[in-house]
Assembly symmetry: none
Homo-oligomer: 413 residues x 2
């Protein structure tokens, strides 16, 4: 069985300036294809420390994934450390130089002299292309071990990993019959879900079921290992069925689909349109909706009505409603949704009004109180929730909950 | 000089189930009192791996901080690993047992038998009390080295660190002085900035200057080390001055302030208001503006006009402008900004229109083309940019660039 070790490189991680999300991302991705991560090393930008970590990591595992230290500055020493570890010289590759230069030419910029170093790669190693930045990755083999270096910038790293590294890893584990199924849930906490699944989540069980949480989404990963692929698939599917029976409509997607994607697909299928009227989330809900490519097919317009005046003038919310019930109320949420739906001539509207904090809360209307209304020509459904956490957590959870309410609303029809 | 190394223990970190925020927290705290973290190890719940990591960490550094693996389950093996590393037996301490039992008694619960293990500690080591959970920490000395184990639950760890660990560390470093200054830049790439700073960023120099990038923001960290605090401060401030001379208005803040916070503070100071009209960013710009607590003082309303129709009906953009120049054009950006500013009766408006992709690009108007207009009663300033990357990167960079244009606009007045 193939195992992996992760090496995170960069002073900024050790100084606590950057939280190392790369290691967590990679661990999750590796696990999803059945490669356990057995260790992880974080070191500063120092050639000898990097070399030592590469040595430890390649002793621990068959696959070593390093991130960071591929930039153009004197701090960036991963390239040099890889060369030292491999016992190879760094050599300039014209093709790489061309790519780095093109990055700047496209942007009408002159390539700084410093960036030239990014065209160097250890002799015998292979470059991995970077479509988002100037730093190419490095792929090298030492006997049976595979070593890969990727940039530390998360967007560049994830794209390189998906495009160039994942296929290589998959080909290495073709004889491992591991099937992975991911189910995404929204609407209940991790502990509720874990308790509900009971023995299914026991350690050492095969399939193994892991649980992760991100922005309120609880993701269950079923990992089945067997002698043949079809057997592993059977096992995973059996568990999927069991989990679906236990969790029902809490599960909103399989694989990678976000709540916004699920909602978007449903709207597209039914040729329906959506608009939003946001107060406390103030753009975040629209942002999530339009994160989805092709969302212009069902989303045309949205309103951010942060002040009472904007709610009144833009969405025709009655001033007397705000006066009587307050801006954070069921009545105002409903009026906002209806106003937006009519103005955008949309089939559905979501309105969100609440108190994101840190100030503005009262005993009756505490920080975290949010009203969400999903409105259509046929019906309006409003939910009152109280969300924990800071401003950012409240806004994120409110926007996700809004999408989830629309999902359940669309499910019913 | 005292150095530290961090050991994070737990399968949940390696499987990507938990992002290890503990290590980042500890690194930041240690650095703030002048203790650099030179390495960090993450391993699973395995006695031998923990012992090996403790050995590596105590070779690297004077202070070893371990987190995780102190719970009551069979998975939790840090206690046993500490005993093995120290060459000492685990011994039950009655006082500790009492504390663990009290935790349950207070909550009207019976202590599970499993929790009894938490009253055990290696002979010669000292327990650190945990006011939020059942797991006490461990403090041990091996010659001049200090080894500490804390729980993995972040709230328990941070409280134990602040209460019991920080005072011990401070007493160890009374003769060290480190001062840190952070400067945030926007509007130029990392390599441009680094090249501009030249020798200042040389390795081994004191102050040491590090450079990190996040969402287009380049952050420079000046780290000065000296015999006294005031001397270190002088050195750091001297470098700050040098950097400010070289980078000028590229620097938008010191410390942690985001572009949106800087813009927000300027608007507040001048009692000015802001509105937004977003097409391709579709809510993201408003979201960034309202991430700032208190933004309701200067932000009242915003429009997401994704379709041409919405631009026409909501922002009074002339249909003929869109027909002649296209929705992604300087003319339409200006009309959007002006329309929003008038409708919101705001002092400033930012409009963003562009092609975020992945589809919709043409040879003349490629994916990544974005027009940003900042409009006021006195003047309008429009910028045309071509951004690299995927949909997410383009949207993020466009919104940040929009805030930066407003920042520079506000600077001029």
């Amino acid at each position: 069985m193939q195992k992996a070790s992760i090496v995170s490189i960069g002073n900024e991680i050790l100084t606590g300036r950057t939280i190392d999300t790369n290691a967590a991302y990679l661990s999750g991705k590796l696990l999803s294809i059945g490669i356990p991560v057995v260790s992880s090393y974080t070191i500063g930008d120092d050639i000898d420390l990097i070399v030592r970590a590469l040595k430890l990591a390649s002793d621990d595992a068959d696959i070593v994934l390093a991130t960071g230290g591929l930039g153009p500055t004197d701090d960036d020493l991963t390239r040099q450390a890889f060369a030292k570890f491999l016992g190879a010289e760094l050599q300039m590759e014209n093709e790489l130089l061309q790519k780095v230069q093109n990055f700047f030419i496209k942007r009408n910029l002159k390539m700084p002299e410093k960036n030239k170093i990014q065209a160097y790669i250890p002799v015998g190693a292979e470059a991995l292309s970077n479509n988002l930045g100037t730093a190419p990755g490095i792929k090298a083999k030492v006997k049976t071990k595979l070593l890969i270096a990727m940039p530390g910038v998360p967007s560049e790293m994830t794209q390189m990993f998906e495009e160039s590294v994942m296929p290589v890893l998959k080909s290495r584990i073709s004889d491992q019959a591991i099937v992975q199924i991911r189910l995404n849930c929204f609407g209940a906490g991790e502990s509720y879900i874990v308790e509900n699944l009971g023995n299914l989540m026991q350690r050492g069980r095969n399939p193994q079921i892991n649980c992760t949480v991100h922005c309120g989404v609880v993701t269950l990963t079923i990992l089945a290992e067997a002698d043949t692929h079809s057997h592993a698939q059977q096992m995973a599917q059996k568990d999927e069925k069991l989990i679906r029976e236990k969790l029902g409509k809490l599960i909103f997607s399989k694989g990678d689909k976000s709540l916004a994607e699920v909602v978007g697909r449903k709207l597209t299928e039914r040729k329906k349109t959506l608009t939003v009227a946001e107060s406390c989330t103030a753009g975040l809900l629209a942002k999530l909706v339009t994160d989805v490519p092709g969302s212009s097919n069902y989303f045309t317009a949205g309103w951010i009505t942060y002040s009472n005046q904007a709610k009144i003038s833009e969405l025709k919310v009655g001033a007397e409603l705000i006066g009587e019930y307050g801006a954070v109320s069921q009545q105002v949420a409903e009026a906002m949704a209806q106003g937006a739906r009519k103005k955008a001539r949309a089939d559905f509207a979501i309105a969100v009004t609440g108190i994101a904090g840190p100030s503005g809360g009262t005993k009756q209307k505490p920080v975290g109180l949010v009203y969400i209304c999903v409105d259509s020509a046929q019906a309006a459904h409003t939910q009152r929730i109280i969300l924990p956490g800071n401003r950012n957590a409240i806004r994120t959870r409110a926007a996700q909950t809004a999408l989830n309410i629309l999902r359940l609303f669309l499910k019913k029809d």
